[in-house]
Symmetry: C2
DNA sequence: CTTGACCTTGCCATCGTGGCAACCTTTAGC
DNA sequence: GCTAAAGGTTGCCACGATGGCAAGGTCAAG
């Protein structure tokens, strides 16, 4: 069974509201590479293909990609984003589940922030104590090299 | 040329101030795995071996391992630690080089902290606006799913 | 001599992303 | 219609720091 229009389907798709991966990348700010990656993670349901095997994306797919991008920019892991996407697409979700997930993420952020602030404060103190000239003496190295550390 | 004491060398080494990898790990809090890894990165100069191919570590090696561990706990990358170790072991170093390295690291920490605080603040706001009950409505998902985002 | 603890090397996995290679398809210019 | 450029396809390797596992060698105690 031969098609009357050999390989035109790509043009068809693009002119009827669909986008190829480059257009999707530009429209969402997600690189083509990562779009394929998210598909492989199962975050984009059943991506359609043209006759010539090009991926085509609907506006809904772009919406999902922006969702992922926004989730990443808020520091969510791919696993968390997967869960959030599931909730987003489930009209019978309970908002408390979303909030729990976000609250847990805030806790993780707070822990990391506190850890890094501790590093920064220690380093700031050490840098302040280092005269920083041509001489070798340096409290920073003394801290790092102090033996037992305990 | 045969040795008079066949494979005793390991015991010899351990009884003359040297440590095998397990002892070094326990003494420094660095896992045996990571000790080998740091060696492969060239951070531990020429690690000695016993006749039976066991690594043996001097007190100086343990000192280096503690230096690395402390550097990691301050958030330095392995590359930065490599540089710091070089300065530490160079008696003709200039303290300004050490301070520059540390100051740059503080800037990176500050940037990451600011980024994560931004995430946390946004999320805290969203979580505060989410009633978090059995209903599906949720400002968190609305933020993630808001189309153009812009 | 056996057993268990500990050492050796080497490979795979994580997580999110980038890069490259080899090859196929579409598009634009001539 | 041919050709070249642009852009799509898959697949593999890399990062950074760490963990895990497997297969084998070694050591110390019973």
């Amino acid at each position: 069974m031969r098609r009357s229009k050999p390989t035109l389907e790509t043009a068809e798709a693009l002119s009827s509201g669909y986008h190829n991966i480059g257009q999707a990348a530009e429209a969402t700010g997600v690189t083509a590479k990562m779009i394929r990656h998210y598909e492989s993670l199962g975050l984009l349901s059943r991506v359609e293909r043209t006759l010539s095997n090009y991926r085509i994306y609907s506006d809904r797919d772009l919406h999902v990609l922006r969702f992922i991008k926004r989730g990443r920019s808020l520091g969510f892991s791919m696993k968390e984003i997967e869960a959030l996407l599931g909730l987003w697409q489930n009209s019978r979700r309970k908002s408390i589940e979303v909030r729990r997930l976000a609250a847990r993420h805030i806790e993780e952020l707070d822990a990391k922030i506190a850890e890094m602030q501790g590093m920064r404060d220690t380093l700031t103190h050490l840098v302040g104590a280092c005269h920083g000239d041509h001489r070798p003496d340096c409290p920073i190295l003394e801290d790092l090299g102090r033996s037992p550390l305990v």
